[in-house]
């Protein structure tokens, strides 16, 4: 009977739409492009990971796991060999081969007009060789242990689709052909990224047919959208709303220690750093931060527990390491400095500052969780041991430029690293642009022994030995208090009941890792 048939079709259609699972996620930061080789910033990479893969992936604890490469090894001290995964298809149905890898490495190195280039990750590679369609060899000038790590940052694009493609072609989804769990449907800058499931994904089919990544940088708006049911999950929960979401039975909260460590840099290279004086504003005879006792006093003056409990509302753990506990090279023996204001005052007096001194603490006001509040709280605590502290905050767009220009003598920085030795290299190694050391060492702490240990470590291809060297370097450096460690942030996600997410240390929000329950 035609009517029955019609009814059946209608019911079937309803059933189908009900089954077409859609996931709507609220992201906290703006995605500027879907060209995976354009700008190396976390929000862009987060979006790119949905469409593209890399040779090497990392798991929830930022340890390396196979991606498009199923294995890799150093066949001699300067050659790495990668075995590629067979049978992987791009979104357009073409096969993934070594040609695409070589093309992607070259595109990442040469993409013109890239404001934050990926070139540094491929710079150590001096020669690329295709052994067979599923084996490549990469040569470096010197032994270089970090190559597999670095290749985690290079997304593999399709040679066929991306040849001659510009960044706009990726943004319009024409050239954005990858091997990742989703195909790019539409990218609307500042608003959303729309994705459709790649049924042929090598890593297992995602649970969601359609995914929408909504860009909602305003914290309150993001939380409100989740509460109103406009979104299924959000990342980066403002600390003020944590308790509320935790206690609300309709939502689930997931937290995990992030790889981001908050720290304070202290000028240790100038005799008269800017905005550092005695309490009447007269310049000091010498730079107090050059004295390790003063640096230790500052560290002891800070009540990390109060910051974690009151300012971060439990959304952090006190830091004694440059990297957080799950990360390669973490040293258990390095504990957070104990809060001892009296000892801090004594140390200051010993160093010749019984009355303290005055300085300005700089911080961004839109970059890290509660950055402004953390800076003010640190200022409070320093004021109590006699260091008169002013706080100046500004948007990150202004802040980092001024910090790099050396305008600040005391400044807040948050840093995430794959490993302890990479963190040391960026934050406390003697600055050397040619070697890529100390790029974020604003205070210019310098210890040749630490530098030597790091160099030795990066040339050590054995993971165990390298981790031991990284730990040794960390213990040696942190004994001098080269920076003031504050806390490791927790990364947080909230989702409606019935969805689960395995939280990640690298703070990424991956739609394919959300699962219905």
């Amino acid at each position: 009977m035609p009517l029955r048939r019609f009814l059946f079709a209608v019911i079937a259609a309803f059933a189908l739409t009900a089954h077409a699972a859609e996931l709507r996620i609220g992201l906290a930061a703006d995605v500027t492009s879907l060209d995976p080789h354009y700008l190396n910033v976390a929000p862009n990479n987060n979006a790119a990971w949905h469409v593209f893969d890399a040779l090497v992936h990392v798991d929830a604890n930022v340890r390396l796991v196979p991606g498009l490469a199923i294995s890799w090894r150093a066949i001699d001290s300067t050659t790495w060999e990668f075995k590629l995964r067979k049978g992987v298809k791009f979104h357009d149905g073409s096969d993934f081969t070594a040609e695409d890898v070589i093309f992607s490495l070259e595109r990442a190195a040469t993409l013109a007009a890239s404001p934050g280039p990926f070139a540094s990750f491929v710079k150590p590679i001096t020669a690329k060789q295709i052994v067979d369609p599923w084996t490549i060899r990469l040569k470096t000038a010197a032994p270089y242990a970090m190559l597999p790590h670095d290749l985690n940052s290079i997304f593999i694009v399709s040679k066929k689709a991306a040849t001659g493609a510009r960044t706009e072609d990726f943004n319009s989804a024409r050239a954005a052909v990858g091997t990742g769990p989703y195909k790019l449907l539409r990218f609307a800058r500042g608003d959303r990224v729309e994705l459709a499931r790649n049924d042929a994904y090598w890593g297992g089919k995602s649970a969601w047919d359609k995914v929408t990544l909504r860009i909602l940088p305003a914290d309150t708006a993001r939380v409100a959208a989740l509460l109103a049911g406009d979104l299924d999950a959000i990342e980066n929960i403002p600390t003020a709303d944590l308790t509320r979401l935790k206690t609300n039975a309709n939502f689930r909260l997931e937290q995990k220690v992030s790889w981001r460590t908050m720290l304070l840099h202290m000028d240790q290279y100038r005799d008269h750093p800017p905005r550092l004086s005695d309490k009447t504003g007269k310049p000091l005879a010498k730079n107090p931060f050059k004295d390790a006792r003063v640096r230790l006093a500052v560290s002891k003056a800070i009540n990390r527990r109060a910051i974690v409990e009151r300012v971060m509302e439990g959304d952090a753990i006190a830091a004694g390491n440059l990297v957080s506990p799950p990360v390669f090279g973490y040293v258990d023996a390095l504990k957070p400095e104990i809060y001892e204001p009296e000892a801090a005052k004594k140390l200051l007096a010993e160093a010749g500052y019984p009355d303290g001194f005055a300085l300005t603490l700089y911080a961004p006001n839109d970059r890290y969780v509660n950055d402004e509040q953390v800076a003010q709280t640190v200022a409070q605590m320093l004021a109590r041991v006699g260091i008169q502290t002013k706080v100046e905050t500004m948007p990150a767009s202004v802040y980092f430029g001024r910090a790099r220009a050396g305008e600040f003598s005391f400044a807040l920085l948050g840093w995430g690293s794959f490993s302890g030795d990479l963190a040391l290299r960026a934050l406390v190694a003697t600055p050397n642009a040619d070697k890529g050391y100390g790029a974020w060492n604003w205070g210019r702490y310098s210890n040749p022994k630490v530098d030597a240990l790091l160099e030795q470590g990066f040339a050590t291809l054995d993971e165990k030995k390298r981790e031991a060297l990284a730990r040794e370097a960390a213990m040696l450096a942190l004994k001098d208090v080269p920076v003031i460690l504050l806390h490791h942030q927790l990364a947080s996600w909230a989702m409606k009941k019935g969805i689960a997410y395995r939280p990640r240390t690298d703070e990424y929000t991956f739609a394919h890792q959300f699962r219905p329950q």
Binding site: T220, D241, R310, V311, N365, Q373, A375, M381, M394, P395
Partner: protein, 293 residues
């Protein structure tokens, strides 16, 4: 028969006709006194970081701090007493509002008078400047200036002067143009008085009434603009919050029920602006000759 009144007496009498304006004036006086004597009547110096303790943060109204101080209106995210914060914040808000308006009036007045008196090219140049400035929204100009200059009370005042002077220049010019053609100015010119004397002794006093009205309204606008800028995080420094910054600090907690951090400073800002506007409205009626009964 009506008794002879001096102009000032007439103004006072007319002003007192409105109960609303009088109560506005009373509230405004109270606010001014509070702002003036804030350091004496505040339970805590909210700008002295050594007096704050983060362990006292976000306490509800009526709680006691670790040092035994009572937070009558609660505390903010740094353990700052909201009541003291409001007292000091009023000081900054009013100070910034009045100082920037005064400077802007002086600049705008001088520019407007010069434009009207000298006319010709001087008039053209000054008024084109004013036109350009008025074609941009005030908040936009202030945002750009502060983004370039950085935070600070002095810089905020400067930015507010820059966005306000053009209003006064335009108003004064139009009034002065009318006055300029009157006989007493012609007489003064015939007496060969120096231009500065004519402008400031003869032209200026006759242009004042509309200016006073606009300036009073603009003080309220300047306070609101300062609050907006601070709310956006580019006005006053974070450790010396004005009302706008206090409201901003509490905004994150609005959804989590800690209303007092934003609510009370918000009320204070509202009351201040309303009372100034009440006074300004009545002043306008009193000083406007066309509304004379």
């Amino acid at each position: 028969m009506q008794r002879e009144q001096t102009p000032l007496q007439r103004i006072v009498a007319d002003f007192a006709e409105s109960r609303l304006a009088l109560s506005g004036l009373a509230v405004l006086t109270l606010i001014l006194l509070v702002a003036l004597f804030a350091p004496l009547i505040s339970p805590q110096n909210p700008y002295d970081l050594a007096q704050l303790d983060v362990l006292d943060s976000r306490l509800p109204p009526g709680s006691r701090s670790g040092d035994g101080l009572t937070f009558w209106l609660g505390s903010d995210d740094q353990g700052r007493d909201i009541l003291s914060g409001i007292f000091y914040g009023l000081r900054i808000s009013l100070g910034v509002g009045v100082a920037s308006t005064l400077c802007a009036v002086i600049i705008g007045l001088t520019m407007g008078l010069c434009a009207a008196y000298f006319g010709g090219r001087t008039d053209g140049v000054i008024m084109r400047f004013v036109d350009i400035q008025l074609s941009f929204p005030a908040i936009l100009i202030a945002l750009i200036l502060l983004a370039l200059l950085g935070q600070g009370i002095g810089k905020t005042i400067f930015a507010l002067i820059m966005v306000q002077w053009a209003y006064y220049a335009r108003t004064v010019r139009s009034t002065a143009l009318v006055e300029r053609r009157k006989e007493y100015i012609e007489a003064a010119v015939c007496l060969a008085l120096p231009p500065s004397r004519i402008v400031f002794r003869h032209l200026l006093p006759n242009c004042l009434p509309p200016l006073i009205v606009i300036a009073t309204v603009q003080v309220a606008a300047a306070i609101a603009l300062e609050a907006t800028l601070s709310y956006l995080g580019i006005g006053v420094p974070i450790t010396e919050p004005s009302l706008g910054l206090l409201i901003k600090n509490g905004f994150d907690y609005m959804l989590s029920g800690k209303y007092w951090i934003s609510f009370f400073p918000g009320i204070a800002l509202l009351v201040t602006i309303v009372s100034i506007n009440l006074v300004a409205d009545q002043l306008r009626d009193v000083l406007n000759p066309r509304l004379q009964k």
